[in-house]
Amino acid sequence: MDELFNNLYSKKVMEHFRNPKNMGVIRNPDGVATVGNPRCGDLMKFYIKVGKNKQGGEYFKEVKFQTLGCGAAIATSSMVTTLVKGKPLIEAENVTKQVIAEALDGLPAVKMHCSVLADEGIRKAVKNYYSKQPSQK
């Protein structure tokens, strides 16, 4: 279908919307961030718990989200948690809006600008974690 006129969600978007993965709260998170604002209609909160591998590298041990927003906002929040969970923190940089959209088999163009805040949310949660670490970071 012509992308310009496509206001339909892919099967994968609907799957993540209907059964979001990693939805909820982490008590005592290592990093937390809120993005978006309710006036714009989308609000997301991400929680991360950081683990360390044998070499001391930090990775996403646990990731959870809470989202108020449209189908795309919920599905992208869910998708981003599955994309980063278990991965090194530094790889959060690679999880862009495009990567999230592709993992969901595409998103309507109109949704790309407003509802895809999840990449930003994860990066901010990582920054929040770093900011709490002693000065070596």
Binding site: P20, M23, T34, P38, R39, C40, G41, L68, C70, G71
Partner: protein, 400 residues
């Protein structure tokens, strides 16, 4: 598979079988061009004029005052631009026509007015509304100027169902025009967009005091793509579509005969059942409103009493409209939302904004619009599943 519960009748309605049956012969059997004098042409002409009479009779108008169009948007564009163009044709260059409309009109009116304004063809005043979406007649009276040529106020708002005091405005303009005639000033014409009103409210043009009225068929069981404009005899109007001079030289293009037949049949059908439908749907709507307002932090939008029987609209705190619509749809309930996410422009509803609803709340808007097939079981089913859907979305949302 479970049957669909269709509660989006303010968006569009299914074509009624009687309407479809009336249209059918005019596709492949009685396919003549009504402008031709032969047997087939005259057969088509007869059908077109019969439909025009039915619409005229419904509105209490004369047949020659009805022009067929493709939809209400076209009727609105035609009436506004056509009137301004016709008047400017005679007026001196220094005369700038003034239009008064409201902030909660359909985009067809707002965009048309903005176009006229941007082209320097008219000045426009957008009247505010109160928290219920009502235009104040006193505000309108104050806004009238000597060069006010057109007042355009919708009969019923499509998002919240509030009924505007059209007859009262008609009365006011009658007095204003008597005075204007005495003062040798140009008169003020009155247009109403009656799209959501046709099925349930009195649309007799004399009683309303309107000079022009726009309507579209697909809101009352005719197909999409056919509408009409009532233009009171003597109202100046310039055609917007040039060509072969069909529709009394006002709207060129070969008449869409089957759809015109469908429109006539549909309007006849609703006039047969108007009163009964009004009563039945008001009861069902009230039942739905009562049930839904039991959910915490859910508010009715629009006027509690002055509303059409078929529209129940709400804002739901802490739940986003598009998500609500998707989850309702999973339960086979078809409704709509004015949420920014469901609009192509990603702006919160201009109607709710004009009513003073904060953006963070208007994102959670939902509209249920009933139709002649709506049952009490359907209303109760929706009342039963909606609280669960709202709770689910609220649980998902972060605390603000």
């Amino acid at each position: 598979m479970k049957k669909l519960i269709y509660l989006d009748n303010a968006a569009t309605t299914p074509v009624e079988s009687r309407v479809f049956a009336a249209m059918k012969p005019y596709f492949s059997l009685k396919y003549g061009n009504p402008s031709e004098f032969h047997l087939l042409g005259q057969e088509a002409r007869k059908a077109v004029e019969e439909s025009r009479r039915k619409i005229a009779s419904f509105l209490g108008a004369k047949a020659e005052e009805i022009v067929f169009t493709s939809c209400a948007s076209e009727s609105i564009n035609f009436s506004h631009k056509g009137l301004i163009e016709a008047l400017r044709h005679f007026a001196p260059k220094s005369f700038t026509p003034h239009i008064i409309t409201s902030a909660i009109e359909h985009k067809a009116v707002l965009e048309t007015c903005q176009h006229l304004e941007n082209s320097g063809l008219a000045k426009v005043t957008y009247l505010p509304v109160d928290q219920y979406g009502l235009v104040k007649v006193t505000d309108l009276e104050k806004a009238i100027q000597p060069n006010t040529i057109l007042v355009s106020i919708m009969y019923v708002n499509n998002e919240v169902g509030t009924i505007q005091p059209i007859a009262e405005i008609g009365q006011l303009l009658k007095k204003v025009n008597e005075q204007k005639t005495k003062n040798h000033q140009p008169r003020t014409y009155f247009h109403t967009d009656a799209t959501q009103a046709i099925q349930y409210l009195d649309c007799q043009v004399e009683k309303l005091g309107v000079d022009m009225l726009s309507l579209t068929g697909h809101k009352f069981y005719a197909p999409k793509g056919i509408g009409a404009l009532y233009i009171k005899k003597g109202t100046p109007i310039r055609k917007q579509q040039d060509g072969g001079g069909q529709e009394m030289k006002l709207r060129s293009g070969t008449e869409n005969v089957p759809y015109i037949v469908g429109l006539g049949e549909a309007i006849e059908l609703i006039s047969e059942v108007k009163d009964g439908q009004h009563q039945k749907l008001t009861e069902l709507r009230e039942r739905l409103i009562t049930n839904i307002l039991k959910i915490p932090e859910v508010y009715l939008t629009g006027h509690p009493q002055k509303r059409v029987p078929h529209i129940a609209s709400f804002v739901i705190k802490g739940a986003e409209g598009e998500s609500l619509i998707l989850l309702l749809s999973d339960k086979k309930v078809i409704a709509s939302s004015g949420s920014a996410c469901t609009s192509q422009v990603l702006q919160p509803s201009h109607v709710l904004t004009a009513m003073g609803v904060a953006a963070e709340v208007s994102h959670g808007s939902v509209r249920f619009s009933l139709g002649k097939n709506t049952t009490i079981e359907e209303i109760d089913y929706v009342s039963q599943i909606l609280p669960k859907i709202i709770s689910r979305l609220r649980e998902m949302a972060p605390q603000i």
